[in-house]
Symmetry: C2
Subunit: 257 residues, 2 copies
Amino acid sequence: MKKGTPTLSSLGRALTLLRVVIEDGGKSNLSSLARKVGLPVATAHRQATSLVEFGFLTPVSGGRHMAGPELLRLLYLIEPKEVIARLAMPAVEALAEDLGTTVHLGSFDGDMVTYRAKAGVSKGGLFTEVGGQLEAYCSGIGKVLLAHLPEDERNAYLANGPFVALTPHTITDPAELAHELDHVRSQGLAFDREEIEERLRCVAVPLFAPDGSVPLALSASFRNLAENDGTLSAAAERLVRAANNIKDELWPKHSSS
Amino acid sequence: MKKGTPTLSSLGRALTLLRVVIEDGGKSNLSSLARKVGLPVATAHRQATSLVEFGFLTPVSGGRHMAGPELLRLLYLIEPKEVIARLAMPAVEALAEDLGTTVHLGSFDGDMVTYRAKAGVSKGGLFTEVGGQLEAYCSGIGKVLLAHLPEDERNAYLANGPFVALTPHTITDPAELAHELDHVRSQGLAFDREEIEERLRCVAVPLFAPDGSVPLALSASFRNLAENDGTLSAAAERLVRAANNIKDELWPKHSSS
DNA sequence: GTGCCTTTTTTCACAATGTGAGATAATATG
DNA sequence: CATATTATCTCACATTGTGAAAAAAGGCAC
């Protein structure tokens, strides 16, 4: 029985209460929440009072609580895309290993795709690098992200061309691109068929946040595939599964019984 | 010396560390942060380890840390508008008392203004109620919120009329409304000159969030003012001050020396 | 590689501090 | 007004957090 660094159990209990209060959304009073967590009321009360004192909670009428100013401040300091990308890393690496190719994780920032993670063999030497940016309209990740943008922003992007052809396959017509994005959204995945570089293809899938937005997209790239090679569609299936796993891990369904 | 409910000081220290780590944005390692907070490294290390264990932090390379999955989850559960409205309440009530009139706090949700707080005398019997919604284009709060919307969304709203006239003064022409909104944005405040109800006027100012967005707006309403009464502009000044106070309280400048 | 410095992690004795049952006050609820 | 429910306080107890010091693990220059 190894000792290791001991965990601050009282901190754990207090953070659990904090989580429960926030999840409750200010509907219940302290006693019922204490009961739900299986904590003595006295203890829960002391924790709640302290959390209020430290600004992580605020009392609202009737002994209920909601998020406090400090928590609100943290909320504006955190960059969800960055955090999600970090937390998804293990899954991304596993996927890359599994597929034996390069896997990317990217987000949409200021009309461009930011590559936030890159995993897997660099055989074929992909040009991308983490932190780098690329045009959105021609990559799989970009098309997924564009497809799930709020309608206003998507239209604004489409109206903001021009879309320069990088290869003969690049989609450069806004109307055609709009149609492609509709397709991507309904299919739940996007293909890049040599639109960015000859003989380079990829599949990309969205990573949904609980509010329905798509902060990140996941892609797998392949070089020199035969025209009717099944690799891409096989990879697509794996990507969808990986995306689902990440989603389930980050936003588990609460068995809130 | 009253006892009161004792505060969990260890919780406070751990939450301080959490805040410092997030504020740091994952730039520094633990020891430097511990030094900054004036905490023994051993203690800071134990707290950080525990925060990681509870999912509030995640380790990144080089002994640094960033927000963890639980914190991310909280982020998506919290409704900033609601929280800010709650935290601004005291200031809103003070302002209403100070001005001796009705003060409103509203947000923009789905093309409409949601009234999230109402304070002050109900003389003149304003029709609004907390939780109720109203068209945005004709109220002071609505115009402030529209004016500070991202350009895409503002244009989408303007294109989405029609704007029905509630009084002869209501702005119903999209182009004119667009011009008015530009004015509102550059002035930092909006007036409602009997646009929603005869003899009812109000001033409204934006409440800025740290990211530059305007989640809420603050307004003061007056009835039966003479055409050239200085009350409105006097109130405007007070509103601006109140908005600044709220902002400074919620997002204090860190003397991060 | 070797040595030196910084940072991370563990150990451990001590007491500070969190704990929860129970009493009391405050508040809904009928 | 009576009665439940909930919030808050008190206090004795030992759980649990604390921090100095030592050990282990990286970094970095040379």
